[in-house]
Each structure stands twice: as C-alpha cells, then as structure tokens.
C-alpha cells in the first residue's frame, strides 16, 4: 500500500516538472521559513535583486494551485503574533514540496552542467569534485 502511494507520489512529482518559475521562486522563499503572501513577494524580489517581481495575481494564482497540488500548506502558527495582522495567512512548504523543489533544482543543475560542458557559460562556476 505504502509502495503504491510512493509510486503515485513519484508519478505526481514527474507530472509537476518542469516547474513554472513563479512556483519555484515561491518554494524557495518558503524553504527556510513560513511566510505570508507579501513576505513571499519581498523575499523573491530581494533574493533576485529586483529581477523577479511577483504580482499579486501571479502569486496567489500560483499559491492556489500549489495548495491543491500539496506543495505548500497553510500554517496555523504565527511567527510573531504580537507584531502581525491576524488576518494574514501564512504558508509553509510540505515534504512533497521540498522533494519537488529538489527534483527541479537537480533538473536545472543538469542543464547548467550541459551548458558548461558545451562552453556556453562565460564565467567559471563551481565544478563538481572529481568522482561526484
């Protein structure tokens, strides 16, 4: 039964890849802590140096589908209830969401390695240790 469930999850994981950029950014924003919608927008903007800005429509459209796909879930806890508006909803990444984000990161890493092998990258990025 559990094996069947794992197999189903693996299929679902494959079905979700490749992730849309907005979905991956949201998963990355939630990887280290729970955040509300505006917090996610700010984190993404800050992390990408302002190159990626999620508008409210993109953000909440993605959040709605990510909740349905089980990538994230609503959190009951408030990081700091005294400092925050109680109406805000906080979101946190699920274990499945972590696995999907990891699989997508590996996929992208493979692409980068290919680009590096074909000398498409100008800079010398960190290379894998020998035998890795």
């Amino acid at each position: 039964m559990e094996r069947e469930s794992k197999g189903r999850r693996a299929r679902e994981l494959r079905d979700l890849l490749p992730l849309r950029p907005a979905v991956l950014h949201i998963l990355l924003a939630l990887a280290d802590e729970e955040r509300h919608g505006y917090g996610i927008m700010r984190e993404v903007e800050g992390r990408t140096g302002g190159q990626t800005r999620l508008g409210p429509g993109t953000l909440y459209g993605s959040i709605k589908r990510m909740l349905a796909d089980g990538l994230i879930e609503e959190s009951d806890e408030r990081p700091d209830p005294a400092m925050d508006d109680q109406r805000r909803r906080y979101y946190k990444i699920t274990d499945f969401g972590r696995r999907v984000a990891g699989a997508e990161a590996e996929r992208l890493s493979g692409l980068v390695e290919t680009a590096r092998a074909r000398k498409l990258l100008r800079g010398r990025g960190p290379s894998l240790p020998e035998g890795a």
Partner: protein
Amino acid sequence: MSRSERVYRVLLLAYPREFRRDCGVEMVQAFGDLCREEKRRGGRLGLARVWIRTLPDLAFTAFVERSRAMRDRWLFMLVPLAILLGLTIAYVDSSPGWDDTGVSAAAVLGASGLFGVLYPVRPWLWALAVGVWIPAYGIVREFNYASLLALVFSFAGAYAGAVVRKRFVPVR
C-alpha cells in the same frame, strides 16, 4: 483602505468569482502592503511604478483564471455529451440487424480517445461515460458478460487519448 486598494479591489472583478472568494482579500492586502512600501520609498512615482507593474499582471492572470474556470465548466458540458455518445453506440450495437462488433469496438475506442484528448485529466471518467453502456445493456438484457470487453476498449482509448494529449500539448 487607500484609494489604490479600493480601485484594485474593484479591478479584481476581472477574476472568476471562485478565485476572488479564495484569494481576493489577501490580494488586496498584499497590493496594499506593496503600495505603502513603494510610496514610502519613492513617493507618488513609486506608487505609479506599482500600478504599471500590477496592471499587466492583473490582466494576464485574470485571463488565465477565466480560461481555467471555463475549462472546468467545459467538463460539465462534456460529460453529458460522452454519456449520450456512449448510449448511442450501445443502442446501435444492440439493434437486431447489427452484427458488426468490430465497428462498435472501434467507435468506443475512438470516442473515448477523443474525450481523453479533449480533457486528459480524468481518462477513467471518459472510459466509463462512453464504455459502460454496451456491457450494461448486454448484461441486463442478454446476460452477455462478454460485452464487458467494451470497457477494455473504452479504457484503452481514453488513456491513449490522454497520453497523446499530454505528450504533444502540455495541459498545465
């Protein structure tokens, strides 16, 4: 609530009702936070920049959400159509003069496949909607359990259609 937030709340009417119900309050809240922050940083110009960024996002995502809502409604239109087609095939197949089982099987396969292509998310639904009527009629009227084979064709067609669709036209 600021004037910008009030205007934005009205503009949310561009989204389907269900989407507004699920996300509308939070979207206005996030937009309000964004406006306050940008106004604090850049004054009126900052606020104008927020609007310039937000309007295309609103237009595009409202279109996307409306399209998704239409697709869900489409499902409710397609199910009766699939049932009707399945009943028609079963009716023809059970006619006294009809003995071409191969054509019936091909019709079940083709019809299920077509629905699988059109809406690949639930192939089992199309397999049952199209394929269940021949065995139902065969078993109830003639105790013909061999007619259950029709379900094999309907499931094969529906899943093949879904695979074809997912392979060549991304669904997400």
